[in-house]
Amino acid sequence: MGILKPGIKLFTDEGLRIDGRRPDQLRPIKIEVGVLKNADGSAYVEYGNTKILAAVYGPRDPGARHILLPNRATLRCRYHMAPFSTHERKSPAPSRREIELSKVIREALEPAVIVEAFPRTVIDIFIEVLNADGGTRTAGVTAASLALADAGIPMRDLVAGVAVGKVQGILVLDENEQEDMYGEADLPVAAMPTLREITLLQLNGVLTEEEFYKALELAWQGINQIYKLQKEALKKRYAGAEEEE
């Protein structure tokens, strides 16, 4: 968490954020499902200027036998930031952060996927960050969960993610890059809303106990809104299919 530089104002006098949102307001969200022809399932998600593309392949034969598990499918996840996704060119080689986030996202999705249905197979998830403006891991989880559903892989529930931050002592929902950089705390949360189960919870920075519970409540508000949009996007994708039947 960065120390606020003098002169950087993250709230207006009316209490609005630098992008004009209220503290409890999400960025404009755009979700599309089935955007890639070659993938078994795919999704494109925008949280404001954060743009994510997710693709899912499988359940398939991995080739390497040591990966296989006898009683369930193996989930493999690759989170990657495109070289052009940040202000300065990012090396396309996987960084420590990307390797960690790949693991974190995989663990956020694993409780949702019914992996027991496909023993001795592998499900590959590719998450590509096209433009990074804060909240890439949560947007990645949202996109990957939709891509999994699009691939027809049985899931207990869709997973939706959003980050809550603390900026100048105020809790803000779905923080952007500026707020993430200069804020005091960052709490990414992903959950399965129908089951009311949290699958990802990280905290970077410091929050008091009271702030933590308030932040979690705010995150649930955001997650429920995103969950509705996820379902709408899935239904929109298949609305034509129902008419054809």
């Binding site: 359940p59 991995p62 559903a149 699009d150 027809g152 892989i153 207990r156 809303p193 994708r237 298949y238």
Partner: protein, 199 residues
């Protein structure tokens, strides 16, 4: 009245949608039960069978699984008495599974007009079969007793060439060896085609 009860309710659902409670319905295909609720596990169309009280979801994208009733291609790797062992190649001959999934074909699952003493009489090592899976766990029990099941490729025991189908027989285009094998309803190569290629 009966027609009224049989009606099905159809609507689009996504994973996590609550479709009912266990007091109302049984969980059908692609539906699971959690804390008394019946929840959809895939994106698809909901079907409510009001007669049998079953709620199920027909997925928009059907995934192929090794489950009883599924048809797979297998390569016969061994024959011994009344049992043949086979390696599952996959659901088609394009995307072949590289990891070893094994199957067993018992002589009782080979259709024949006469009594077979051993599987050797119909199946040979190296044959590719299209068979039905009849068990849930590995090694899968396989069956040729289905109209869709068939020997699809077989090699000549004398010269090793691919044999072609000529009416109810398999004939080698190279050496002329022929034998009667069953079932060959979906055999891949016709004798005339193989013979034409050789010319």
């Amino acid at each position: 009245m009966r027609e009224k009860i049989d009606q099905e309710i159809r609507k689009i659902v996504s994973p996590g949608d609550i479709l009912g409670v266990v007091e109302e319905f049984f969980a059908g295909e692609n539906v699971y039960e959690r804390n008394g609720f019946l929840i959809s596990s895939v994106a698809g169309i909901e079907h409510v069978d009001l007669r049998d009280r079953i709620v199920s979801v027909t997925p928009f994208r059907e995934l192929r699984k090794f489950v009883p009733g599924a048809f797979v291609y297998v390569l016969v790797t061994g024959t011994r008495g009344d049992i043949a062992t086979a390696r599952v190649l996959g659901f088609d001959l394009v995307n072949i599974y590289r990891n070893n999934i094994f199957g067993i074909l018992h002589v009782s699952h080979i259709p024949s007009e006469r009594r077979l003493r051993s599987v050797d009489e119909m199946i040979r090592v190296g044959d590719i079969l299209y068979v039905k899976i009849v068990s849930r766990t590995q090694p899968f029990f396989l069956s040729l007793r289905s109209p869709k099941a068939s020997i699809t490729v077989s090699l000549c025991p004398r010269c090793g060439s691919i044999m072609g189908r000529l009416k109810e027989k398999l004939v080698c285009p190279s050496c002329g060896y022929s034998e009667e094998r069953k079932p060959i309803t979906h055999y891949l190569y016709k004798y005339s085609e193989l013979r034409g290629r050789q010319r």
